[in-house]
C-alpha cells in the first residue's frame, strides 16, 4: 500500500501489521500483514470469518498491544499504550457489574469531570437513546443480553472520542431495534464527523453502514479486499433494501465472503 500524501486525512494506518500472540503452547498468529488506511471521517466495516483477527485489529488501534510486526499509526504516530483518541465498544460488554445501568453510562462522564447535574442529564438522554430508560437502576446481571449491549453502546456514546471502534455492537439486537440503532449511529457519526471501525458478521449491515468494507481472509487473517461502498453518505437505511446498488453490493460481498455457498447457489 502506498503512503497517502496528506497525513492529516490518514487517521489510521496499518503497514504490514501482524500480531502473533505468545502463549505457553506456542505462538498463535492472529493477524498477518495487515495493510489498511483509514481516513478521518470514514466509516469502515470489517467482515471476515470467526477468528480471523478483526478484534485483534481493533485492539491494536486501541493500543491494547502493539503489533508484533509492522506498524500501526494513529494520526501519524505509532500507537503506544492506550490510545486516548478512541472509544471502544468491545465484543464482550465489559460493563462494571457493581454499577447500575445509569452509573455505568456515567463512568466516562465522571472521568471527564462532569458535574453531577450534567452527568444526570446526559445519562438520561443516552438511556433514552438506547431504550433503557426504564432500566437505569438495574444492575447488568438483571439485564437481557441485548440490553447489556445497549448499555455498553450508551456508555461509549457518553463521551466523544475522535474514533469509534465497534465490535459487533448490534449482533444481539432484534431487526427493528438494530435498524434504529444503525440510523442513530450513522446520524451521530455523520453530524460529528467521527471515524468508525465497525466489525459485523451481518453482510447487509456491513454494506448499509460503510463507506468502505474491509474483507478478511480466514485466520491468521489479512485483509483480502477493501470494497468501496459508493452509496451516499446521507442514506436512508430504511429504504436501502430497494436500492439496486445496495442489492448488488451485498451480493458482491456475499460472493467474496462465502465463495462455497455462492458456488453452491450458482448451481
Amino acid at each position: 500500500m502506498t503512503r497517502v500524501d496528506d497525513p492529516v486525512t490518514d487517521l489510521i494506518v496499518f503497514e504490514n501489521a501482524s500480531k502473533t500472540f505468545v502463549t505457553p503452547n506456542g505462538p498463535v498468529e492472529a493477524s498477518r500483514d495487515i495493510n489498511l488506511t483509514v481516513e478521518r471521517g470514514e466509516f469502515i466495516t470489517l467482515v471476515g470469518p470467526s477468528g480471523c483477527g478483526k478484534s485483534t485489529l481493533l485492539n491494536m488501534i486501541a493500543g491494547i498491544f502493539p503489533p508484533s510486526g509492522g506498524k500501526v499509526l494513529y494520526d501519524g504516530n505509532p500507537v503506544e499504550g492506550y490510545n486516548g483518541h478512541v472509544g471502544y465498544m468491545t465484543q464482550n460488554d465489559h460493563l462494571l457489574t457493581w454499577r447500575t445501568v445509569a452509573a455505568n453510562i456515567a463512568v466516562p462522564l465522571e472521568i471527564a469531570g462532569l458535574s453531577r447535574g450534567e452527568r444526570r442529564d446526559r445519562v438520561a438522554e443516552l438511556a433514552d437513546l438506547v431504550g433503557l430508560t426504564k432500566f437505569v437502576d438495574s444492575y447488568p446481571s438483571q439485564l437481557s443480553g441485548g440490553m447489556r449491549k445497549r448499555c455498553a453502546l450508551a456508555r461509549l456514546l457518553a463521551y466523544s472520542p475522535e474514533t469509534l471502534l465497534l465490535d459487533e455492537p448490534f449482533a444481539a439486537l432484534d431487526a427493528q431495534l438494530r435498524l434504529r440503532m444503525q440510523m442513530e449511529l450513522r446520524s451521530i457519526v455523520h453530524s460529528l464527523g467521527k471515524t468508525v471501525l465497525f466489525v459485523t458478521h451481518d453482510l447487509d449491515e456491513a454494506v448499509a453502514l460503510a463507506d468502505r468494507c474491509a474483507i478478511f481472509t480466514r485466520g491468521p487473517g489479512t485483509i483480502r479486499t477493501v470494497l468501496d461502498i459508493p452509496l451516499e453518505r446521507e442514506r436512508d437505511l430504511m429504504r436501502l433494501r430497494h436500492d439496486p446498488r445496495y442489492v448488488e453490493l451485498t451480493a458482491t460481498l456475499w460472493d467474496e465472503m462465502a465463495p462455497d455457498i455462492a458456488e453452491e447457489e450458482a448451481v
Binding site: 472509544g87 457493581w98 463512568v107 463521551y159
Partner: protein, 255 residues
C-alpha cells in the same frame, strides 16, 4: 427470626452441656460453670468494672483495627498496582509478618511503652498484615480487561483505583477485615497481657493469676462479646460499601 431461634437453642444446649460437664467431667479449676461465670459477670457489671475495662480494650482494639486496616488497604492497593515494587518487597513483608509478635513484646514495650499506644500499635500490626495480604491478592486479581476499558476512556490511575480496583477487590478487603476483627481483640488483649493495669486482658490475667477460673471465663466471654460487636460493625460497613452485593444474594438470577 427462625435463624436466631435455632442459634439460641444451640447456645442454650451448649451452655447446659457445659454446666453439667464442668465439675463432673472436668475440674472447675480448669473450666468453670457458666452459672459461676455469669455470677462474676454480674458482679463486674454491677460494680462497673466490666464496662470500664471493656471500654479500654474496645478502644485499643478499635483504633488498632482502624489504623492497621487503613494502612493495610492503602499498602495493599499500592503494591497491588505496583507489581515490581511488590515483588521486590515481598520477602521483607513476609519476614516481618512471620515474626512472632509475642517474642517481640520487650521491643514493643521499649518503643511504644506500656500504655494505650503499645496496644494500639500491636493490634494495628497484626491487623495490617491480614488486611494487606487479602487486599493485595484482591487487587492482583482485578480483571486487566476492565482496567484497559477504563484507561481507554482516559482514566488516570486514581480513576482506575476508585472505579475498578476498589469495587472489584472490595470483597477481598472485607474478607481481610473480617479475618482481622477477632485478631484486633486478641491483639489488644495480648498487649494487655504483656503489660497493663487495665482492660479485659488485665482482668483476664489477674483472674488467671488468682486462679479465679470463673473470672478468666468471664473475661473471655466479654472479649468474645466485644469481637461480635466489632464484627457486626464490619458487616454493616460491608453492606454499605457493597450495595450491589447485598442485592446479589437476594437477587433472582437468570443465565
Amino acid at each position: 427470626m427462625k435463624l436466631i431461634l435455632i442459634r439460641l437453642v444451640i447456645l442454650v444446649a451448649v451452655i447446659l452441656a457445659w454446666e453439667f460437664a464442668s465439675g463432673a467431667l472436668i475440674a472447675e479449676f480448669f473450666i468453670s460453670k457458666p452459672s459461676k461465670v455469669a455470677d462474676v459477670l454480674g458482679r463486674w457489671i454491677s460494680n462497673g468494672d466490666l464496662f470500664y475495662h471493656a471500654a479500654i480494650t474496645a478502644f485499643e482494639a478499635f483504633l488498632g483495627f482502624l489504623l492497621g486496616a487503613a494502612v493495610g488497604i492503602a499498602v495493599g492497593l499500592l503494591l497491588g498496582r505496583a507489581k515490581r515494587l511488590a515483588e521486590v518487597l515481598d520477602p521483607f513483608i513476609m519476614a516481618f509478618y512471620s515474626l512472632p509478635k509475642l517474642a517481640l513484646a520487650p521491643l514493643f514495650i521499649l518503643w511504644f511503652g506500656i500504655g494505650l499506644e503499645m496496644k494500639i500499635v500491636l493490634t494495628a500490626t497484626i491487623c495490617f498484615f491480614l488486611v494487606f495480604l487479602n487486599t493485595y491478592t484482591g487487587v492482583r486479581s482485578v480483571s486487566r480487561e476492565m482496567i484497559a476499558i477504563l484507561k481507554l476512556m482516559g482514566a488516570k490511575e486514581g480513576h482506575v483505583v476508585t472505579k475498578v480496583v476498589i469495587p472489584s477487590a472490595i470483597t477481598w478487603v472485607f474478607a481481610g477485615l473480617r479475618i482481622s476483627v477477632p485478631y484486633a481483640l486478641i491483639g489488644a488483649v495480648v498487649g494487655e497481657l504483656m503489660a497493663s493495669n487495665r482492660g479485659l486482658g488485665f482482668l483476664l490475667s489477674s483472674a488467671a493469676g488468682d486462679f479465679n477460673t470463673a473470672g478468666v471465663f468471664a473475661a473471655l466471654v466479654a472479649i468474645v462479646a466485644l469481637a461480635a460487636l466489632l464484627n457486626y460493625g464490619v458487616s454493616v460497613a460491608a453492606r454499605i460499601a457493597m450495595p450491589w452485593e447485598r442485592t446479589t444474594e437476594k437477587r433472582e438470577f437468570s443465565i
